[in-house]
């Protein structure tokens, strides 16, 4: 019996050791979320990406829109089937790094390196464009994100020396700018993504400040989200880029530098973390954006792996 126990112990240790050894690349090891599938892959073909940097999910039909570094906007069905591709009108200066879809299913693309915002319908037909380069009121350097409040006002974040958020009327007339006082608590170092919730609170990822900031629609800084990190997880964001809200009113943040997606209560309590850094089927690297789909579905832009990871969470 003693010998049997020894063999049992050896087998137990061997199994544990093997799991520990391979755990770095074992597929399926996710945290508290069910990985469903991914789509994309490197290439310039339809359904493929070359360093995708922007993703948004349509609140109307659940379609997923992705923009990569070839300046192509691609539309996918909620189950990841490629439907349509169109190109941004100009690409010489650079490519867009953000995308937003409103309740009318209009696609707003902050054309980052052309200092403007372009609107498309879901089939890629250009509807409108506004913005010009400059440091003045209503002008942009590098616009990164668009959001619209319940009254229809448009908010555009930007960086490049102009790190601020500008507010426009639905007719694209400049109203005001905020978060632009470098000495103020509400100044953001490269605001990357804006999100406006049902209470008209503006949430913004202060990507190089490594925090999530809140403002009201008058531009008043309501404070940075005080995050309660679980003891067993790395605390603090590292370049939070993407931001979205799920059906349950929780915030989804793509924590790019930490290669993970963080789900938060609006109180700041971390509700879940998903993602392990790597190339394996269920791992992610450098997520630039995240989008909430219907129900529990979450689309994570796995930028360095040139794909979109789809999880149920």
């Amino acid at each position: 019996m003693k010998l049997e126990r020894i063999i049992f112990a050896v087998l137990l240790l061997a199994t544990g050791g093997a799991v520990a050894y391979y755990s770095g690349s074992l597929p399926g090891m996710t945290r508290a979320a069910e990985h469903r599938f991914n789509f994309g892959g490197i290439g310039r073909g339809n359904g493929q990406f070359e360093y995708p940097r922007a993703l948004a999910v349509s609140p109307v039909d659940g379609c997923v829109f992705v923009i990569d570094k070839t300046a192509r906007v691609q539309r996918f069905s909620p189950d990841g089937k490629h439907e349509l591709t169109w190109h941004m009108p100009e690409v010489k200066n650079g490519k867009p790094t953000g995308i937003f879809i409103d309740q009318q299913n209009q696609i707003w693309v902050p054309d980052t390196h052309y200092a403007r915002v372009i609107g498309f319908d879901r089939d890629g037909n250009e509807l409108f464009s506004f913005g010009e380069r400059g440091h003045g009121p209503g002008q942009f350097i590098f616009p990164t994100s668009v959001a619209i409040d319940s009254a229809g006002f448009i908010y555009v974040s930007e960086y490049g020396g102009n790190d601020r958020v500008s507010k426009f009327t639905p007719e694209f007339e400049y109203v005001m700018s905020f978060a632009d006082d470098k000495a103020g608590a509400g100044w953001m170092n490269r605001p990357q993504t804006l999100l406006i919730d049902d209470d008209d609170i503006i949430w913004a990822t202060d990507s190089c400040g490594h925090r999530i900031c809140r403002f009201d629609t008058s531009g008043k800084f309501l404070g940075a989200l005080d995050i309660e990190w679980p003891a067993d997880e790395k605390s603090g964001f590292s370049y939070p880029f993407g931001l979205d809200e799920d059906d349950a009113g929780r915030l989804l943040v793509s924590d790019r530098g930490n290669n993970r997606i963080v789900r938060l209560q609006k109180s700041g309590k971390v509700d879940g973390i998903w993602g392990l850094a790597g190339r394996a089927e269920t791992q992610i690297r450098q997520p630039w954006a995240v989008g909430a789909g219907d129900g529990s579905r979450v689309y994570c832009l796995d930028s360095w792996n040139n794909r979109v990871q789809v999880i149920d969470w």
Partner: protein, 1032 residues
């Protein structure tokens, strides 16, 4: 795709030996498992063996075998200039249209090639548009359209092919390769089971005039009349004009007036179909190299389709008196004049030139016997120019003198350059030396430019090479794990190791300067360097650093230079400019295509900042170390010098160091470097360090002797040299002649009357400066030949040297040949034979660009591909699951008989037909029968163990009650043997007078009772109930 499993392919078959443990396990099982019963015992043994087997198979690296008949077609499209534009468009359409026939899982890959290969599309599935090619024609142009390199394209395609698919290559080309060997690569493709289909493009130009060649004498003397022999080939009779341009030395090219009495400059000519040779006589007006360019201009443009092949060049070497090229900086002419004048006093012909005003090339250097680099930094020379200088010494027999100063040797960024390789000293410093160190940190964000990672690597390597082994070096970048050190800040003692790390660098999109600059700042501060410098290369769009960090850097005297590469607009450069201005660094802007070529130069210049510690500025008296040739007639004492650049002697044969400093460092060193010679003087900078020397009487003598020692040898006069261009091949023919006194010039054997059996060491220097050896063989009495392939446009230099020439004098022959246009424009029809051979060798087909050809591209007629996929992860997961089952089988006892009975009862109750009482009676009868059988079996198995169970009735000591900790075990069940009533019985209870009677039911279920006791009680209650039912 179908899957096959096999256990016959293992990565580590030795791991299967671990299966030997199974024997040990079997022996263990024999001892330990019988207690589980026959079925569970066998099952447990099987489970454990399975766990072992699965683990071993995972460790052994078992593979799954996949059989795949999906097809990946790799299109290789020839976009070189020999393919007319209309055929190129046809090719593009053919590619797009033929990819429509691909199946759902098939893939299409697109590579275009000329002299280089571009991957236009990685393997991709069919898109929504129904084609596998996701680019719309026209496809982008290539990088080297004046060449065709089919072999490189094949190699690249082999590297791209997915291993788990059937792959087919389709080459669409005119077959006119002029670089590489496609057939050899086709054989390689065959070994990779990769058939190459070919689609020959039917090239047939219309009427064409080609400048085949122009024969120019390789040597001439000043004032001599030379004859140029241009040869034109025409498809039909036509007329036109030949114009001749001449470039003397490094001057601008000029048009020669061939008919002075006419308004025209060119010579009118009438061409007949076929070859048309002409003769033109021109005077040689200067003792410098002459390069001629002939151009044909047809009267009727329709008579000539390709313009590029209407030009031809020739090269004549005109030997003059030895001349020395003195290269300095524009603002240092006065400084350099001390040495220039000293050489002139010694009758040496010197030409001083500011480097900024001249471009160095191997051809231009041919006019000079030696070159002097006077306190001039490496960044003033492009990489090509540095290579040319090295080639000039090593391969062309030239002389090179370098003098020091604050911009010479290692302090001038020459370390690691090709020039250092030809010098008699190393510009690095031994690690044991105690000199102040420098530290350089690079913040690398080069990915935003075309070929960003490549340039990132090149610049970092260039900077590293410039540093000494004592200096510190580090590179910060952004990777998927955030900001990190691509190369940790470390001493550059293991440069090869650091270069390997740099080559693995994959810097990515950076968006913040604060973090990487802060990392670099901290690392620089952690070094004991006396000079600390930072370089940032970026497109400028990351966020700016904080004022606090900038202030800390200024406080620590850390300078930061910034290089803006291809900013997205004008706005980004503000951040980079500001960082440079605030920290005392320099700002550079590269915004136009091609500007990136300046990057290594900028990095060398910037890295030089940390090289200042190499200057030792203190007065010293040079020490005579060795009386070499250059010091003939010059003795000490030597005047004082006030500084020098620290260097290290090269440990090589032939290195001589006649003068050293007071610290033992080299001051004057020279050596023979292959065919040329080089001299290094680590001091200089005459107004700062060497004022005493310029007033020294032996100053001019020493320098004259040094320069004369390294001057290039003159060309052998008693050899005639000719070059003949035949297609891509160049033939150099050397003929030895009798000497001028009419004396028979004989080889060592004195046999033939000519210089026979000479062992020439031949070298060819390509237009890009690359030198390669060429074999010179004797083909007749006193006649030698060398043949090489000239596959680049430009001037090719050829040298041949032999030690034992006529009269035992060394022979040095130099000549050149110019390829005016690429061989790409010489072929006027397609080379279908080559393409057919490629298809033949690789097992491919010859297709055409018609409907049949289109349909054949994605034809699934290749044998399926068998590929392997490791399944260790699956086996490991299965082993974990099986292990859990194994534990479950051992620890959880299930009675299959009970299950059977319950199932049967359940079925019977569902079936109906009998009353409850009948079923109960029958069930009970079955149960009793089963129970009796089990009891009998266990009693038999238990044997004597059962006997003490009746003991208490005979007054024996009662068995202790089972411990509460005892788990349920089959062994425990077998102990209450014999009559069940007596085993559980009241008699026993009666024999336990001290045991307190149960007060209430809850007490029976109390924690102090063992599981066995509770089971026994349950059985007793069941029996009482059964008996009651029976009574009813």
């Amino acid at each position: 795709m179908s899957e096959l499993f096999t256990l016959s392919r293992f990565d580590r078959p030795w791991a299967l030996l671990i299966l030997g443990l199974a024997v040990l396990m079997w022996l263990m099982a024999r001892r330990s498992l019988p207690g589980l019963g026959p079925v569970r015992g066998k099952l447990a043994a099987f489970m454990r063996f399975s766990v072992l087997a699965l683990l071993v198979l995972a460790l052994a690296g078992t593979h799954k075998i996949l059989k795949n008949d999906d097809l990946n077609v790799m299109y290789l499209a020839d976009f070189s200039k020999s393919v007319p534009l209309d055929l190129r468009r046809e090719t593009e359409n053919f590619i797009v249209e033929s990819s429509r026939s691909m199946k759902e899982n098939d893939k299409a890959t697109l590579l275009t090639f000329d002299g280089r290969t571009n991957i236009e599309q990685l393997p991709s599935n069919k898109g929504a548009s129904g084609t596998g090619i996701h680019r719309d024609p026209p496809f982008p142009d290539g990088q080297r359209p004046d060449q065709t390199n089919i072999s490189q394209a094949i190699r690249m395609a082999i590297a791209c092919m997915p291993p788990d698919m059937n792959n087919r290559m389709v080459i669409i080309s005119d077959g006119n390769q002029n670089v590489g060997d496609a057939v050899t690569e086709a054989r390689s493709a065959k070994t990779n089971k990769l058939p190459i289909d070919v689609v020959p493009l039917p090239i047939q130009h219309g009427d064409e005039v080609v400048f085949e060649q122009m024969k120019v004498p390789p040597y001439a003397n000043k004032h001599e009349q030379i004859t140029l022999r241009p040869i034109l080939r025409s498809d039909r009779a036509t007329t036109g004009e030949i114009r001749i341009y001449r470039r003397i030395g490094d001057r601008q090219e000029e048009l020669i007036d061939l008919v002075p009495d006419n308004e025209r400059f060119g010579q009118r000519v009438q061409l007949n179909p076929g070859r048309n040779p002409f003769l033109l006589t021109l005077p040689i007006i200067e003792a410098r190299s002459h390069e001629f360019r002939a151009e044909f201009i047809p009267d009727d443009p329709k008579a000539d389709v390709i313009g590029e092949n209407n030009v031809v060049r020739g090269f004549t070497n005109v030997e003059g008196p030895p001349t020395v090229l003195f290269l300095g900086q524009a603002d240092a002419e006065r400084e350099d004049s001390y040495l220039v004048e000293a050489l002139k006093r010694e009758k040496i012909r010197v030409v001083w030139k500011a480097k900024e005003s001249v471009t160095i090339s191997t051809a231009a250097l041919q006019d000079y016997s030696a070159v002097i680099l006077s306190n001039i930094a490496a960044e003033n020379f492009s990489a090509d120019e540095q290579r040319s200088l090295a080639t000039y010494v090593r391969d062309l027999g030239g002389g090179l003198v370098m003098t020091g100063g604050d911009q010479g040797f290692g302090a001038g960024g020459w370390q690691g350059s090709p020039v250092e390789e030809v010098m008699p000293i190393r510009f690095d410093v031994d690690s044991v030396r105690q000199i102040p160190r420098g530290a350089l940190a690079i913040v690398m964000h080069s990915c935003e430019m075309p070929n960003g990672n490549k340039w990132g690597v090149e610049t970092a390597v260039a900077a590293l090479k410039t540093l000494s082994r004592l200096d510190y070096f580090g590179v910060v970048g952004w990777g998927f794990n955030g900001f990190h050190w691509e190369v940790k800040m470390q001493q550059a003692s293991d440069k090869d190791g650091i270069i390997r790390k740099i080559r693995n660098m994959q810097n990515a999109d950076m968006f913040d300067f604060q973090t990487p600059m802060n990392m670099a700042y901290k690392a620089l501060m952690a070094t004991n360097a006396s000079v600390r410098h930072m370089i940032i290369i970026s497109d400028g769009d990351p966020s700016a650093p904080t004022a606090g960090l900038i202030n800390r850097m200024r406080g620590a005297k850390i300078t930061c230079s910034t290089i803006s590469i291809f900013p997205h607009g004008s706005m980004e450069i503000g951040t980079l400019k500001k960082i440079a201005n605030q920290t005392g660094g320099k700002y550079y802007s590269l915004s136009k295509p091609g500007d990136e070529k300046q990057l290594p130069k900028i990095f060398i210049k910037e890295a030089r900042i940390v090289r200042r510690p190499l200057l030792r500025e203190e007065p010293f008296v040079p020490q005579l170390n060795f009386q070499s040739d250059v010091l003939t007639g010059i003795g000490g004492p030597f005047p004082q010098l006030r500084g020098y650049v620290v260097t290290t002697p090269r440990k090589a044969m032939g290195v001589e160091i006649p003068l050293r400093t007071n610290k033992g460092d080299p001051l004057l060193a020279h050596w023979q470097c292959e065919t040329g010679r080089a001299v290094a003087f680590t001091s200089g900078w005459w107004e700062h360090w060497g004022q005493d020397w310029t007033e020294w009487p032996s100053y001019s003598k020493l320098w004259a002797q040094s320069v004369r020692w390294c001057m290039k040898q003159g060309t052998a006069a008693n050899f005639d040299v000719r070059t003949v261009v035949e297609g891509d091949n160049v033939r150099m023919i050397i003929e030895s002649m009798e000497d001028s006194a009419g004396k028979v010039v004989a080889g060592e054997d004195g046999g033939s009357g000519f210089g026979d059996f000479l062992q020439f060491d031949g070298r060819v220097i390509a237009p890009n400066g690359e030198a390669k050896p060429v074999r010179v063989t004797q083909i007749g009495p006193g006649q030698y030949e060398a043949v090489f392939k000239a596959d680049q446009k430009g001037t090719w230099l050829i040298t041949a040297g032999a030690s034992g020439g006529p009269n035992e004098k060394p022979v040095q022959i130099r000549t050149g040949v110019t390829m005016a246009y690429s061989p790409e424009f010489r072929d006027l029809t397609s080379n279908e034979a080559l393409l057919r051979e490629v298809a033949d060798v690789s097992g491919g087909r010859v297709l055409s660009m018609d409907e049949v050809g289109k349909a054949a591209i994605f034809q699934h007629n290749l044998p399926p591909t068998i590929s392997r996929e490791p399944i260790w992860d699956f086996l490991l997961k299965l082993a974990i699951f099986t292990f859990l089952l194994d534990v479950a089988v051992r620890r959880i006892a299930l009675d299959p008989l009970q299950w059977l009975l319950r199932a049967r009862a359940r079925l019977a109750s569902l079936a109906g037909g009998r009353g409850r009482g009948e079923r109960s009676v029958e069930t009970l009868r079955d149960l009793r029968g089963a129970r009796d059988r089990v009891r009998q079996d266990r009693t038999t198995q238990a044997g004597p163990v059962g006997k003490p169970a009746a003991g208490p009735s005979r007054g024996a000591v009662p068995a202790p009650p089972p411990s509460a900790k005892t788990k349920f075990d089959a062994g425990n069940v077998s102990k209450p043997t014999g009559d069940l009533a007596s085993a559980m019985g009241a008699d026993q209870a009666a024999d336990k007078p001290k045991a307190p009677p149960p007060k209430k039911k809850e007490a029976d279920d109390g924690p102090q009772e063992s599981t066995t006791a509770r089971l026994l009680k349950s059985k007793r209650r069941a029996r009482e109930e059964t008996d009651g039912n029976k009574d009813e």
